[in-house]
């Protein structure tokens, strides 16, 4: 029953006596008797028993180390160097709270300041917060912020966006009564500039992703920004930061706000969480004032020595309450620190190389997969590739699974117009033999189906 965590269990009577209470019950005398509850819960177990039990349950999972997997669509199997986990598990980081007492929290504060700084270099903007929950909620917050900044109510996004992220966005803006407008893709699988122009009037913000949901580089991203700015809308760019060693910083391409997923660095997939949303803006007082989330700043201590502290808190809920820029309190600090450690280890050479490897691996994958399927969109892919089959993809999926291969993400339920398509993804972790195994399997499956 966890006695090992309860040092004072042995001193209950002694302590009660010292403060003049007769019993523990007396300490709960303010709780109405009629609602006191006899809990129907299992008794506690020893650490060993729980260790065994959790191991048994977890063994029912099959990891991507145990079968070649081509899943992506917003979560990717990247390799995280061992030292990252090792460092964030140090208890001074792991068991600390939000650094309210700056003087004894300089380590976490500096680490988060470095996270902000590294992201700033990546995305090409000056202002970065200490993290949102994930890319999706960062998008929601970006839409709300755009509305606050522009006092407009419409947010324009590409139709080719992860269903996951769409749903989060819609929920986030519902209370504010914002309207989300979805703009179609063109024949290249990229945003249709004409349709964008038709919808941009009165927009608070225009959003685009790099790469987009189909894994394609949006080649007209600069033009998208110009269209947004022409309508006095904020230009919001969502970015997979692992591409930023090879693709220009969104800040240099005109972005006012950059969001994205920081957990692609330094953090394993963990079935989708925890993650950490990137949130960055231009160094513009108007934008900073409307920014959500915690921000760490550099300052001095009483001796004039460099020190770090949480700053610009007057935007936040604990001070502004109902008028805060967001309700966020706990964020994803440790996830952000992990990302920072990984980024600092990669450095400019590593980030460039990472981008190139993924780009080349994706190109190789496209070459191979086109042996057995159609690629509806021509363009430069990064990680995700939209693949179209003649055989129903759910059938293919079943057969692949039997062969111990996990295929891609079935997009038909969300985009019926794309037919029997799936998003297949590769990264730097994908091995040649995995692709080989997949192609062989697909050939077999398709041949069978054609019989």
């Amino acid at each position: 029953m966890g006695k090992q965590y309860l040092p004072n269990l042995a001193h209950k009577e002694e302590m009660l006596k010292e403060i003049g209470f007769d019993s523990i019950d007396e300490l709960f005398s303010d709780v109405p008797r009629e609602v006191m509850h006899e809990f129907n819960l299992p008794e506690g177990k020893s650490e060993y028993e729980v260790f065994l039990e959790m191991n048994q349950v977890l063994n029912k999972n099959k990891t991507v180390l145990e079968m070649p997997s081509f899943l992506g669509a917003g979560t990717y199997f990247h390799y995280v160097p061992a030292h990252v986990k090792y460092l964030i598990e140090r208890s001074e980081f792991l068991t600390a709270y939000t650094p309210y007492q700056a003087e004894i929290s300089q380590g976490m504060l500096q680490a988060l300041f470095e996270y902000q700084s590294l992201i700033a270099e990546l995305v090409g903007l000056e202002i970065v917060n200490a993290s949102m929950y994930d890319w999706g909620t960062a998008l929601g917050e970006a839409a709300l912020m755009a509305a606050r900044v522009t006092k407009k109510n419409k947010f324009v996004v590409p139709k080719h966006m992860s269903p996951e992220r769409k749903k989060v966005l819609e929920t986030y803006v519902a209370g504010a009564g914002m309207e989300i407008v979805y703009v179609d893709w063109n024949e290249k699988g990229q945003i249709d500039l004409e349709k964008l122009k038709e919808n941009v009037e009165n927009a608070a913000g225009v959003y685009i992703e790099m790469p987009n949901f189909f894994g394609l580089i949006e080649e007209n991203i600069v033009e998208v920004g110009e269209i947004a700015h022409d309508s006095r809308a904020l230009f919001v760019v969502g970015v997979d930061p692992t591409i930023l060693g090879i693709v220009e910083a969104p800040g240099e391409l005109g972005a006012d706000v950059v969001i994205g997923e920081a957990a692609f660095f330094g953090n394993p997939m963990n079935f989708g969480g925890p993650r950490a949303g990137i949130f960055a803006t231009r160094n513009d007082r108007k934008l900073i004032r409307q920014m959500p989330g915690r921000i760490i700043g550099m300052t001095k201590d009483a001796d004039g020595k460099r020190a770090f502290v949480m700053t610009l808190q007057t935007r936040e809920q604990h001070i502004r309450r109902a008028k805060a820029t967001s309700n966020i309190c706990s964020n994803e600090a440790l996830v952000a620190v992990a990302a920072a450690i990984h980024l600092a280890s990669l450095g400019p050479q590593g980030l460039r190389k990472l981008g190139e490897i993924i780009l080349k691996n994706t190109a190789y994958f496209k070459k191979r997969i086109s042996e057995v399927a159609e690629l509806p969109f021509d363009g430069i892919n990064f990680k995700d590739v939209l693949v179209q089959f003649e055989v129903p993809y759910d059938v293919i999926h079943e057969r692949l699974l039997e062969k111990n291969i996990h295929g891609g993400y079935y997009v038909k339920p969300h985009f019926p117009e794309l037919g029997e398509s799936a998003l297949f993804a590769v990264t730097e972790t994908t091995r040649k033999e995995w692709i080989e195994k997949l192609i062989v399997a697909l050939k077999e499956i398709i041949a069978e189906a054609e019989l």
Partner: protein, 495 residues
Amino acid sequence: WDEPLIFELSKPGRIGFSLPEPIEDVEVDIPEKLKRKKLELPELSEPEVVRHYTRLSEMNYGVDSGMYPLGSCTMKYNPKINEEIAGHPKVAFIHPYQDERTVQGALQIMWELEQWLKEITGMDRFTLQPAAGANGEFTGVMIIRAYHLDRGETQRNEIIVPDSAHGTNPASAAMAGFKVIEIPSNEQGMVDLEALENAVSERTAGLMLTNPNTLGIFEEDILEIAKIVHKAGGLLYYDGANLNGILGKVRPGDMGFDVIHVNLHKTFSTPHGGGGPGAGPVGVKDFLKDYLPVPVVEYDEENNRYYLNYDLPKSIGKVKEFYGNFAVLVRALTYLKIMGKNGLKAVSEIAVLNANYLTQKLKGTRGYALPHKELRKHEVVFSAEPMKKETGVKALDVAKRLLDHGLHAPTIYFPLIVHEALMIEPTETVTKEDLDYYVEVLKKISEEAYSNPEVVKSAPHNTAVRRVDDVLAAKRPVITWRMYKQLKEKGEIDI
């Protein structure tokens, strides 16, 4: 000590990474205008990176470093077995879109955790999706919103919160589009029933309440409160930040709450990580379960199969990508299985004993007042108002002086209804010796305040850095190395 910024440690050419070669050296051309130009990341080898962050960690204080009685934060010990299980490759290396048959273990963990939370809180259904308490609150008020809209009660656009509430409560309500109505507490530190009666109307969507409240006081009139709100057609929202004070004794669901969130990183021992990741599951009564975010985890007993159910037509949608902070959920379930029924009950009993022990020991010390009721649950709020008036020493100074003794300060200046508040939550994992020492130091600081106030006002003296200038930080923000360099170039900064 002083540790430079990682950028300042950079040396051109250093390599801290190792990456596999591409599968094939395919040529791919990024359009020139989209090619990356400048990329000013630091260059370090792995040993340097490790040393840097090891040193930074040593400049930080965690629960394993000493007592950390931040009120409303429940900084209890984080069992290491949680970390071991959550670090298992079977947790780390699964993709959220994997076929259900390949993640039965993960789904079972989520399902089991939900069963525990249901019985612990007295709710009927949970979503594990929210990433933190505030994300949970937003989920909860969105559910309340959806419920009223669904019933056509579009006029219900007000959420009532007591003046002692966490800032997240009004902020979450506002984010969901509600107007926030604040009501005062009575002299006992509890909800003023009359004020509540006056506040409710046909516009009332709900009341958000923390119980025990942020003063650590159990809202004795909770059943009456519930009656008033329900009678007005509103729903009752429970902010689970203080669940540790009643764990295993009484359930929000039985007190009349319709929607609640719990903080796994507070009550259920998952580590706070310097501010996150947390997890804020939201529980609802049966009549609200159709509004939960999608997906929910279901168990098909017949086929012994767990699956994700997206088929909730009235769902509010999603409040976060995927299914929540899964690795945090794993930790919480591990903890629950170890504690079990009696363990959880012992948690609140000892947490409450510790808080009252500290209250009684500190009570009467010169300079610290104890407003409101004496009997507390898991935390207590003292006021340094007398000290400030008599010596000029503020709650902030007391907090900083505590640091000099190797202790973490309490939460200060919250709740707002207590001036110069010192909000102390020891939790159940501290020792009697810790409590005695904390009281001893607070008494010593009181003596200092009355004999030598300057030493308190200029505290801390023994920490890595002296008192940090947060006014300067806000006045002349330096948020990133990029900004720092710009200011440096212009000669506008000297740090």
